[in-house]
Amino acid sequence: MKVTVELSGGLELLFDKKKTHTLEFADKDEIPLRDLILYMRDNLLKERAELFVVDNTVRPGILVLINDADWELYDGIEYIVKNGDTIIFISTLHGG
């Protein structure tokens, strides 16, 4: 399966300043969002993991969109990511 992950609002700074990442999981056809986030923390994130993940979910203040819609419309962290999904993370914690 293939998943696209986008980071913005300053979060990209923790990920090598790269805004879009394409992830492939050859052996899976779905992955719980929670596992995807922990995977990102352990494999993509370059610094200060505590600014992205707190208590095994995204840090409060980071908005998550699943295929361009608020993750609160789905099951939030319990959502099961499918092949072709785009997951977007936007920090609201940076200065306005």
Binding site: S8, G9, G10, L13, R59, P60, G61, L63, L65, I66, N67, D68, A69, D70, E72, L73, Y74, D75, Y79, I80, K82, N83, G84, D85, I88, I90, S91, T92, L93, H94, G95, G96
Partner: protein, 367 residues
């Protein structure tokens, strides 16, 4: 949530069938389109078009019900290039047209002189100017005070530099507005910022500021009136609005500003919000209903004998800080002030003391 599947065919855009609570649900407002957002204030699930409408209309309502503007006002929008002020510029332009407010709008940016931070964000503001076709004025600390923040940090180090920046910025916005012949200033402070400030003032026991920080208009006694059209607007919705509308904003933290105290207040608030989203508006409503005793009013305002800026002492804070900077004493004085401030905080609040007010100034304006 009940699962009445609507008969209309809904999502065609997504080939992957997604198992989700909102699966077959339609926007709670129009009952036609697919929802894209759950509103933190109300819990409503709404579509993109309805979101734009309610978002803009609520801000319009805030503006009208608080009489923030009159026809013919010249309004300077404090523009940093960040999300809040970018959305503010968008919404002010849009509402001014849609409801024919009759305002002359300006973008006003302050260049603190921070390499790699403000120079980049100013590029964003310049693009905003092109997009909205409203005049832009950039005013620098260097022009106003003959010091850039880079130079100030070189002189005094990283302790207390935010005090300088906060004091200077507050005046700089007023002066820029005067140059633009504006009679009002609007800033992008949103509901989250205000709730944070309420918490911080409460935790510090700063009663005069606790009283003032939920006012939608400040600075009426002589300084230009400043208002916050986003007072009741959630950060989440501002960011979602910018995202869906593909607005161009800049998001990097100031390289000099780890405002630790505000950071803790923000994290605390975000944790609460995750459990109970209405907490932000609830804090604001609580603070609006506090009653204060007379003796806690802010000190009487007068004009700085050096520069004429409105202040509560003979000499304003900016002039005072500048005097120390120019005489090379800033580092020494600052450390004395910080020490004295700690002592003051133990003897309740006494906001007539210049040193206390100086260090606390930040609580109101900076975020």
């Amino acid at each position: 949530m009940d699962n009445t599947t609507p008969t209309t065919t809904t999502n065609v855009e997504n080939s992957t069938p997604i198992k989700k609570k909102s699966g077959g649900k339609l926007c709670e407002l129009c009952n036609v389109a697919r929802p894209v957002l759950k509103r933190p204030k109300t819990g409503q699930m709404i579509c993109k078009e309805c979101f734009y409408t309610v978002f803009e209309d609520e801000i319009h309502h805030t503006i009208v019900s608080n009489n923030l503007f009159k026809r013919g006002d010249r309004v300077a929008i404090g523009a940093s290039g960040g999300k809040d002020s970018t959305v503010l510029a968008e919404v002010m332009t849009l509402l001014n047209k849609k409801y024919d407010y009759g305002l002359d709008l300006f973008l006003l940016s302050i260049d603190e002189g921070i390499t790699g931070y403000r120079d980049d964000s100013l590029e964003t503001v310049k693009r905003n100017q092109q997009q909205y076709q409203i005049p832009l004025k950039i005013l620098s600390y260097k022009e106003l005070y003959n010091w850039t923040m880079d130079e100030i940090v070189k002189e005094i180090g990283l302790k207390g530099n935010c005090t300088f920046c906060g004091v200077f910025r507050r005046q700089a916005l007023d002066r820029g507005a005067v140059i633009l012949k504006a009679n009002k200033i609007v800033t992008g402070h949103n509901a989250d910022d205000i709730a944070e400030t309420v918490l911080m003032n409460l935790l510090r026991g700063d009663i005069p500021r606790l009283q003032r920080c939920v006012n939608i208009v400040t600075g009426s006694e002589g300084a230009l009136p400043r208002s916050k059209p986003f007072k009741y607007t959630y950060q989440k919705e501002i960011v979602m609005y910018a995202y869906f509308k593909k607005l161009d904003y800049f998001s990097t933290e100031c390289i000099y500003a780890p405002n630790a105290y505000r950071g803790h207040a923000r994290d605390f608030l975000k944790d609460l919000e995750a459990i109970r989203p209405s907490v932000i508006i609830d804090i604001i409503h609580s603070a609006e209903n506090f009653h204060f005793r007379e003796e806690n009013k802010m000190p009487v305002q007068r004009n700085c004998i050096q520069c004429g800026y409105i202040c509560s002492n003979d000499v304003c804070m900016a002039c005072d800080l500048l005097k120390n900077l120019n005489s090379g004493l800033a580092k020494v004085k600052l450390s004395i002030n910080l020490k004295r401030k700690d002592k003051d905080n133990n003897n309740n609040n006494n906001s007539n003391n210049n040193n206390t007010t100086l260090s606390n100034q930040l609580v109101i304006e900076q975020k």
